[in-house]
Amino acid sequence: MPISSTMSVAKSELIINVEGRFDFSAHQDFRSAYEDLDGLPQHFSVDMTETTYLDSSALGMLLLLRDYAGGDHSSIKIVNCNDDVRKILVISNFGRLFTIQ
């Protein structure tokens, strides 16, 4: 579940990469990726290229990120999902809360 992130200062966007299983064990690291920054980025992107699996605690973590990023005013993309990950996001209708690409 390694979590890594890169910040694009120009675009004021934080990109968080989740590798492997996105489950409860990622909790601490995922939070640190966005909480331990100077200032609040305007945009967020969660890159699921390397994510193999997503469970309900991962959905909870995404909600926490959304809450931190401003709730209804947040701008968060979830990108490069594989079929399994996408299926879970579709069933949970998370497309209403995040931009899923």
């Binding site: 309900s56 605690s57 909870g60 909600l63 809450d67 949970s92 209708n93």
Partner: protein, 612 residues
């Protein structure tokens, strides 16, 4: 139970406080005596004991000390490490080690053998270590500086290991303690949940369910309750996570569900309230995926709504077809009330048709090879049982899942529910059977409730009035009829009386749509006007009379035509019949013992009688 558990486990680096107490078990003139003299006295305190009998069985440390003149013996608890010289034990090495371990008990105290010649003593050393000794060190009659340093280093290493082990033991003990507290708390949560769902109707004959024994811990909940109008509402919920956070959400969910179904609220209203409640109280990352079904047995209609769970299924008996109802909304508790608009799907079903609700546990159930049961196998299992007797059919589906996962796996996260469509009288009979017996003392009361424009716009008085009537135990079996009476009279008073809508609107194409659109518009614009309900009830356990008056401040209508309903159909009475039908009067006539209109027709009075 302690109020607070320590949040921190011991995590400092293990250090043994000096001096370390070493016990050397060796005979007089032992080969081990010279090397131990090289130990740094600032770090180590050495006690030499010549006989095993010197150890007492006492656990009382306070009366013991390491005074070398102590002739009463030493408790083994005084020592941090035991050095056992091979010339003391010889062939008894294994037994000696075992004896020492019994004295030591749960503490980690290294037992290290001292051997003058490793090779010659190999049998002794092997036996001793097989019995539990930790290591051996070679001694020398005339130790060099090198051997002396090596000896000290090895002792230090054993002490470090002992300190680490002791830390782990302490952490383990704390973890066990925490775990016990957690299990206790979960148990309490489950007890509260069970009390809240005491009237849970999930054991009705047309509901079959397979739930894990630890469902509440898993956040899986199944709720069912009959509606006042003679139907049934069922909810299958799956809270995120496990343990207490998941279980805790089940309590407000259940309590809100039961109270609203009982009061006669509609399914979308119930869902919206559940969402609002959970959104208000649950943490951001906790939510509840749910499927809700409302079955209307009178009309053979089923409304299904799914948010976040895998597809629910409708199995039609005649055609053996299965339709899937996919999740079409966000789970409960994620967004606030304003943005939550549940959209159920409606089906017309026949007796014998079945519905299936499930959480992902059954789809993800895994066998030895790591394969998941999946939706294809489930659909096969379901459609395979379409002609089976419902009890046997459900058991067969369950068995197929159990067979698939094999004996080595447990099905402790599975929730699968089957609902059967039955006819209305069968359901009424089922409900009566599961209803508790109620006493019926004589009752006599009068209630008046007037709604003005703001309440007419935003509130629905029907559930409240029905609740009032349901407080009378003997009226509960007539909840369907009473619901119809109140609803019809209210709609008449509001829509025809106050808002001036004509039910002829409904006859036109797209009629219902334009009717309700007009209703909304007129209601929003309403500045003045009232609808007033008066309920008057008297009864006992043998009979009862309810008189309902509904008066609106509108213009009324020509109710003199009421008599014409009794006459055979002809053109002249047709129009007045249409007006009367539009007000649901034929329906009311079939339920009420008397209907009359007073004043200009803006005042309806009906009587409802019952008798054993």
């Amino acid at each position: 139970m302690p109020a607070n558990l320590s949040a921190n486990l011991p995590s400092e680096k293990p250090i043994k406080q000096s001096p370390v107490n070493i016990c050397l078990l060796a005979p007089q003139q032992s080969h081990s005596l010279s090397i131990v003299n090289f130990l740094d006295p600032h770090l180590y305190h050495l006690t030499v004991i010549h006989s095993l009998d010197t150890f007492t069985q006492s656990v009382d440390n306070e009366s013991q000390s390491l005074n070398t003149n102590n002739i009463d013996g030493y408790s083994i608890n005084l020592f941090d490490i035991i050095l056992l010289s091979t010339d003391l034990v010889a062939l008894e090495s294994a037994n000696t080690v075992r004896y020492l371990q019994t004295l030591i008990g749960q503490r980690y105290v290294p037992i290290v053998l001292l051997s003058q010649s490793g090779v010659d003593d190999s049998a002794i050393l092997i036996d001793a270590m097989a019995a539990g000794a930790h290591d051996y060190i070679e001694t020398s009659a005339e130790p060099s500086e090198y051997t002396a340093e090596l000896f000290s280093a090895k002792i230090a290493s054993q002490i470090r290991i002992a300190a680490m082990q002791t830390l782990v033991q302490q952490q383990n003990a704390q973890i066990m303690d925490h775990h016990k507290h957690l299990m206790y708390e979960q148990q309490l949560a489950e007890e509260v949940f069970n009390k809240v769902s005491q009237n849970n109707g999930i054991d009705m004959a047309n509901i079959r369910h397979w739930l894990s024994p630890i469902a509440v811990f898993n956040g899986d909940v199944l709720l069912a309750a009959p509606t006042p109008s003679g139907g049934l509402i069922v909810l299958l919920g799956d809270f995120t996570g496990h343990g207490l956070p998941a279980a805790i959400g089940t309590i407000p969910l259940a309590s809100t569900f039961y109270s609203m179904v009982e009061k006669g609220f509609s399914m979308p209203d119930i869902i919206k309230e559940l969402n609002a409640k959970l959104h208000a109280i649950l943490p951001v990352s906790v939510f509840c995926c749910a499927s809700v079904v409302q079955l209307n047995f009178d009309e053979g209609i089923v409304d299904i709504w799914n948010a976040g769970l895998p597809d629910s299924y409708v199995l039609r008996k005649d055609s053996s077809t299965i339709e899937a109802i996919s999740s079409n909304g966000l789970a409960l508790g994620i967004v606030g009330a304003g943005e939550y608009q549940p959209k159920p799907t409606r089906f017309n079903l026949l007796t014998g048709d079945r519905l299936y609700l499930l959480s992902d546990g059954v789809l993800e159930a895994t066998n030895d090879k790591g394969e998941q049961f999946g939706d294809e196998r489930l659909l096969e299992a379901i459609s395979g049982q379409v002609n089976a007797n419902p009890e046997k059919g459900f058991a067969a589906i369950k068995q197929q899942v159990i067979d698939f996962i094999g004996e080595h796996s447990r099905a402790d996260d599975i929730s699968l529910v089957e609902l059967g469509m039955v006819n209305a009288s069968d359901f009424a009979a089922m409900y009566k059977r599961s209803q508790k017996t109620i006493t019926a003392e004589p009752v006599s009361w009068h209630f008046s409730y007037e709604l003005r424009p703001d309440s007419l716009r935003y509130q629905d008085p029907v559930p409240l009035l029905l609740h009032l009537l349901m407080e009378v135990p003997t009226l509960r079996r007539y909840s369907g009829q009473l619901f119809t009476i109140i609803t019809e009279l209210y709609n008449n008073a509001l829509e025809h009386g106050l808002l001036g809508l004509s039910s002829a609107l409904k006859q036109a194409p797209e009629g219902f749509k334009s009717y309700y659109s007009a209703r909304n518009d007129h209601l929003n614009e309403l500045k003045q006007g009232t609808v007033c309900f008066t309920l008057d009830y008297q009864g006992d356990d043998q009979q009862g009379l309810l008189v309902v008056d509904v008066k609106d401040s509108g213009k009324g209508f020509n109710h003199a035509e009421l008599a014409s309903l009794a006459e055979p159909f002809n053109e002249a009475s047709h129009q007045s019949q249409a007006v009367l039908s539009g007000r649901g009067i034929p329906l009311l006539q079939s339920i009420c013992s008397k209907i009359e209109y007073l004043g200009c027709g803006n005042h309806a009075r009906v009587e409802f009688k019952w008798a054993v």
